[in-house]
Amino acid sequence: MQILNDLSLYFSYPFVRYAVIVGVLIALCSSLLGVTLVLKRFSFIGDGLSHVAFGAISIASILHLADQMILVLPVTVISAIVLLKSGQNAKVKGDAAIAMISVSALALGYMLMNVFSASANVSGDVCSTLFGSTSILTLTVTEVWLCAILSIVVLVVFVLFYNKIFAVTFDENFAKACGTKVNLYNLLIAVIIALIIVIAMNLVGSLLISALVIFPALSAMRLFKSFRSVTIFSAVFSVVCALAGMLISILAGTPVGATIVTVDLGGYALCALIGRVARRS
């Protein structure tokens, strides 16, 4: 009963409600493309892009931009396209290119923040950008709307292109030979990933985004056998874990991002266990 009372107290504050709404939307979106990323061996693109977004945020904060999204969104989208292109005809192989770009962006971002920052608490700023420790609770109404709109865009695009995404993920060469515009859809996938990452940085911070993308997909793949069921379960898994993580973090006072990822890890372990038991019987 005490817990319920606590929760209803917290939920009487609008910023907590915003945080929960945005958190659920982010979790939903980030899980959708997880299967595609994992199967295309693109898992690390998410990681690389989030570091790029971190670099972009630090530049935006130095420039004192009122709305950081103006810079962060295009930079991340362009990086996504570049990374994807470089994966196809690469002098530097895909994963190496990603590693290179992500550490560079991380280092540059941190350095710039240190040198030029006006804030008194640089390491606090850096920490919250990396781990999203407090930013979810300080969202403004505009940011909540932006997140909501972007999430809906991602959702609609995903549903409309679901069959294409499946075809391109399962067998790129076949799709290409039959006249499907594979490059266009790969581009679309990259842009959606970039969007998701920019949205998700608010929730878990740039270092932990990959977890939101990968854990739901991997957990679902342990249990389900068709693309559709894997996708649906990923979405449900992600939303449930994010919700649980946020509630725990509110009640226990733990950092939001880290708590969600920990719950994701627990959920994955559970799915792996169930999968193993089910296969044996």
Binding site: F170, C178, G179
Partner: protein
């Protein structure tokens, strides 16, 4: 008019020519096997025919109402597919994707086509099975059904029997021959000389020079005799 006419085609990647002066014709109803040693350029030729890469010079002319996106394709398995969570139904249906353009969803007609082709490949009962849990031969039949959903005119098969056991291989060859008999034109890259001589109407040989002709012409030609002889020797050597 022929489905495919290639004249003095030169193929390869940007700076490296793999094959030059390739000429051949594929007519509706043909069963063309592409033979040759590893690394001779069979896969490159096939990718060019499928418009995955551009020819360096020369042209692939399509005719007889065949459009570029009406060439079905049975690729070799990629490592992505080994642990891909997808049902047989989802995969076969994805063959219909080709002619849908930007239309987002499958129609009843698409589903009907998928069902018919699954049945043709004797895989209806596996409709809801998980692709990665099927045997190698079953997987190939699923991919064949998918290719048939994309087109019923011309199929390009890339070593469809590699990694299959002898019995499954035989069944798959029979199935492909049945398809051919029902009017589907086949181009097949093959390592299996005996089966190619048995089933195909035409042979495109790539190696020390290029040969194109009917299977009988190939068996009588210098290049053909030499190639068949070499394969025979290899078999003898293996037996010893």
């Amino acid at each position: 008019m022929a489905f495919l006419t290639c004249e003095h085609l030169s193929i390869g990647y940007e700076d490296r020519e793999v094959l030059k002066d390739v000429s051949f014709v594929v007519n509706p109803g043909d069963y063309v096997s592409i033979l040759g040693e590893n690394g001779a350029g069979k896969s490159t030729l096939m990718k060019t025919v499928l418009h995955l890469i551009k020819p360096l010079s020369g042209e692939i002319e399509l005719g007889d109402g065949l459009r570029a996106d009406e060439i079905g394709y049975l690729p070799q398995q990629t490592f992505v597919q080994k642990d891909f969570p997808a049902s047989v139904w989802e995969i076969v249906l994805s063959g219909c994707q080709a002619r849908k353009g930007f239309h987002p969803f499958y129609t009843a007609a698409d589903k009907k086509a998928a069902e018919t082709n699954l049945k043709k490949m004797h895989m209806s009962e596996y409709k809801d099975s998980c692709y990665r849990e099927l045997s190698g031969g079953q997987q190939q039949r699923v991919l064949l059904a998918r290719a048939l959903c994309a087109t019923e005119k011309l199929l390009v098969l890339d070593e469809p029997v590699s990694g299959l056991d002898p019995l499954t291989t035989k069944q798959l060859y029979k199935l492909i021959a049945e398809l051919n008999a029902s009017g589907v034109t086949i181009i097949m890259i093959s390592h299996d000389l005996a089966a190619s001589l048995e089933y195909s109407s035409h042979i495109l040989y790539i190696g020390d020079g290029i040969f194109f002709g009917t299977t009988e012409e190939f068996e009588d030609s210098e290049k053909g005799k030499r190639f068949i002889g070499r394969k025979g020797e290899k078999k003898d050597a293996n037996l010893k």
